[in-house]
Symmetry: C2
Subunit: 385 residues, 2 copies
Amino acid sequence: MKDFPEDSVGIVTPQRIHFDQPLTLASGRVLPEYDLVVETYGQLNQQASNAILICHALSGHHHAAGYHHQDDKKPGWWDSAIGPGKAIDTNRFFVVSLNNLGGCHGSTGPNTLNPETGQPFGPDFPIVTVQDWVQSQARLADYLGIQQWAAVVGGSLGGMQALQWSIDFPDRLRHCVIIAAAPKLSTQNIAFNEVARQAITKDPQFHDGHYYAQQSVPKTGLMLARMVGHITYLSEDGMREKFGRELRSGKLSFDFNPQFEIETYLQYQGERFSTSFDANTYLLMTKALDYFDPAADYDNDLALALKNVQCQYFVASFTTDWRFSPERSREIVDALIEAGKKVTYTEIQAAHGHDAFLIPIPRYMEVFGAYMNRIANAVEKDNAR
Amino acid sequence: MKDFPEDSVGIVTPQRIHFDQPLTLASGRVLPEYDLVVETYGQLNQQASNAILICHALSGHHHAAGYHHQDDKKPGWWDSAIGPGKAIDTNRFFVVSLNNLGGCHGSTGPNTLNPETGQPFGPDFPIVTVQDWVQSQARLADYLGIQQWAAVVGGSLGGMQALQWSIDFPDRLRHCVIIAAAPKLSTQNIAFNEVARQAITKDPQFHDGHYYAQQSVPKTGLMLARMVGHITYLSEDGMREKFGRELRSGKLSFDFNPQFEIETYLQYQGERFSTSFDANTYLLMTKALDYFDPAADYDNDLALALKNVQCQYFVASFTTDWRFSPERSREIVDALIEAGKKVTYTEIQAAHGHDAFLIPIPRYMEVFGAYMNRIANAVEKDNAR
């Protein structure tokens, strides 16, 4: 039997939770019922005051930490930050991680059966927004008996959900942790998303989203989408350090086979993704990103949108992140300051670009861990009263 | 009859020049014969000392200035810089502009007939490099009776050709004008090119490059390639200023039709390109970019590669260009200084990103024009002796 590392949460089992109250979405459409697939780590205390919600990013899911079985080769996507003694210490916190609505890892989404038709939703699954996710997550909190999260935590698109939580349910979280995010996408961000969507929808195997029935998968489209995405996740410096202009065979081949190491890497990443992720979900997730703009209803004034928030904020960015650069995080920080709210901001030196938020960079884990430690201390002090 | 602007070269007619001496390429392959399509503007002086060679970029061609017929709506791609009284003053210079080997605008390339088979070359056209282009351009100079160019001028990939000229034929140019270029592609540049190539070659209409025979065109691949390219040509700031997050209909549509202005723009650009450019040529041009690395044969020491150059250099970059940033131009400048060569460098404030090199930004045209004016003055002073 394999020994997992001591600071691992060990084997975890996802659970499926059914919600039968209709959910009215931002689009006006209604989901009559839905499932969310969830993992939890650690123990909820008696006061239910030590719960942390983890929100996932574009291609993430509920499996954030630990292993699914003894022979699992890789732990969850944020195992470096979640576990006994880690930044999000599962000896002290009860951690909840879910697959969002519209996802492709078990929660109700395009690749699950529409109970009304008995067929997969496919392209008929409604476009969901960050607000819709937050609504569904609030119902999950109700289900779990959590009136108020100690913190809602997320990186990238996950950080946007955390920000939206603080606006939509000001009294249901004490801390909001926003890592490598932005208050809305830039035009360039939308442009890259649109390339990805065009690559998928123009793939002949896409069949207008009804590819499940055709027993096909728009692999090329997904591969291209992932390749473009991946370039934006890595920094230019990081790419140069990791791949440079190294040639696989040591010399130019004068043909169109991949020859620079970076070409091989991107193709591998793209192909792996194309067989493991659902194309309709990818489309939905990019739309949720494009649509996210909490200031839009407040005259494009983010400080005004944040007027009624009650929690404290931790905002982190990474120096070489050009997808959501430090400048974008500072927009959030500046708006919080303007609104008179409490915020801690850190800019982490890191060569890894946007991907840095998933990497256990020592300084990042120290600062993030110190903040989470303060939250845990407050929880335990309150309980000891 | 339409009146062209006074500072236009007016109506121009491309000429096709046949070369029947075999050309051995960097790959070792041999082109037994080939055609180059060329335009010229202005008059060659008696001493043949006022000739300027214009080298084109990735999707460029020979038609750099003027109009092809009375009803032509648009002039050549660099009409803003070439004409009577313009930065490249056709009252003083004899300007030569060609479509490079492998191009798709008339010069021998994948979409022209292979005399050995009577069929289009298609994917059998050899991969050509910047060095190969410079060799073919030197033969063009011979044909035109030009022993030494007053200047070789180019932007982006065109600037790389100018740089290569100065290394390969040190005594055949007096000035080298390198605008918005780099001494070699970065890993990220190669990565974007590889996405474009994958988009084209994975398009089912590509037929391994034999699409001419199939009466098909890999339109989707070309469209995606152009969309990705276009994002890298524009600056993030420029995109925001031009398109922002404006919605076509004023509100979110909650579907996958293009709704942000930037989406419509990119799709339009991509679709237009997909019907006007040859896919095999696009593949070749991106490979020429990837392969360009004049320092590679000199221990990756660019100063060493430039040891024997004899001309003077003008190098220009644009502040918001992130495809070939000012930093990349300064690598060229620094190597020239280290090698003890004469170089003038200017960094132009411009919001337009890489595209700026095609735009008549006043400060850019003034500085560039002043440099070209100095060259013309020297030519005329020499001739008056």
